[in-house]
């Protein structure tokens, strides 16, 4: 038997947010672009309250320092060989004859390639 009762769509699931999403005004406050007093609505103030707590926690992390033993541990584990700049690596010595011979060779190769292409 076919049930002909019209299908009733399920009620939309309402997503309950306890705080409204951060509006552009709240984002601007968090970016330091406007004072908190500039937040006009109660919703914005409510969101700002949550962010004040998060910021407070984040700021406490900003006071963290590298444990003292870590610095000495890093220093003691550095390799003995000091870093050498790329420029300090001596290049292979070049003499005048080698440079001239290299130049002539390049010109000859170019001439041969040109000749073959023309043919």
């Amino acid at each position: 038997m076919i049930d002909e009762t019209p299908e009733v769509p399920p009620p939309e699931k309402k997503i309950h947010r306890k705080t409204p999403p951060a509006t552009p005004a709240v984002q601007a406050w968090l970016d330091g672009e406007q004072p908190r007093e500039g937040l006009a609505t109660a919703d914005e103030q409510e969101t700002a309250e949550l962010w004040a707590r998060i910021n407070s926690e984040a700021e406490s992390l900003r006071k963290r320092h590298t444990p003292i033993h870590v610095r000495s541990k890093i220093l003691s584990s550095l390799p003995d060989i000091p870093a050498v700049p790329d420029e300090a690596v001596p290049a292979a010595p070049l003499n005048k004859t080698a440079v001239v011979a290299g130049g002539i060779a390049i010109v000859l190769i170019g001439a041969v390639i040109g000749f073959l292409l023309v043919r």
């Binding site: 962010w51 963290r64 444990p67 220093l75 700049p85």
Partner: protein
């Protein structure tokens, strides 16, 4: 409670960058101890970045150590600001760690920093928020987490972030805004 957003950390002054170059020259000339000055100067912000990104003091220490050793070994390749260059080494190491590790739980354990709270209840609330914040941060994509940590935990300006990450202020603002939306959604059930 602050009425404005947190103040941002200033970029190193130009003369400090010059001073860094002098120290680098000394290290390259063979003075290993001179490298200690650079470690002293930059380890705190780099440690905080690694801690913010990984959530683990032990991992942050390891990343810091490996990064400074790498920096020492490649010091001759520094072009421009040393602090920006070494930051990128640390930032990449953090991203690699996040990609490779499957974590079940990490937290700001071994917190030996002095507490400013007078009552055990306040301390307990704070620890809970810290744990939940870390939980929420772990759920953010790396790029959003990085942007949020640099802005809110390290207190950097967008301009400084853009210089360090080699991207635009607009792109970073977008990432930070998206990170806030995501974190708020994760945290509000409990704290709103």
């Amino acid at each position: 409670m602050p009425t404005t957003a947190p103040a941002t950390a200033a970029a190193p002054p130009v003369d400090q960058a010059d001073a860094d170059q002098e120290i680098i020259a000394r290290v390259l000339a063979g003075s290993k101890d001179a490298f200690g000055i650079l470690i002293q100067r930059y380890s705190d912000p780099l440690y905080r970045h690694a801690l913010g990104m990984t959530g683990s003091p032990d991992v942050a220490e390891d990343i810091l150590q490996a990064s400074f050793i790498k920096a020492y070994q490649h010091l001759g390749e520094v072009r421009g600001r040393f602090d920006a260059w070494v930051f990128r080494i640390v930032a990449n190491a953090c991203k690699d760690w996040l990609k490779n590790i499957r974590r079940t739980h990490v937290s700001y354990e071994e917190d030996d920093q002095p507490s400013s709270f007078s009552t055990p209840e306040e301390e307990m609330d704070r620890n809970e928020l810290r744990t939940d914040l870390e939980y929420a941060l772990n759920r953010l994509p790396e790029s959003l987490r990085e942007a949020f940590v640099m802005k809110h935990v390290e207190g950097r300006s967008y301009e400084e972030m853009a210089e360090l990450l080699e991207t635009t202020v607009g792109a970073l603002k977008m990432r930070v805004h998206r990170a806030r939306e995501a974190l708020q959604a994760l945290l509000e059930e409990k704290y709103a």
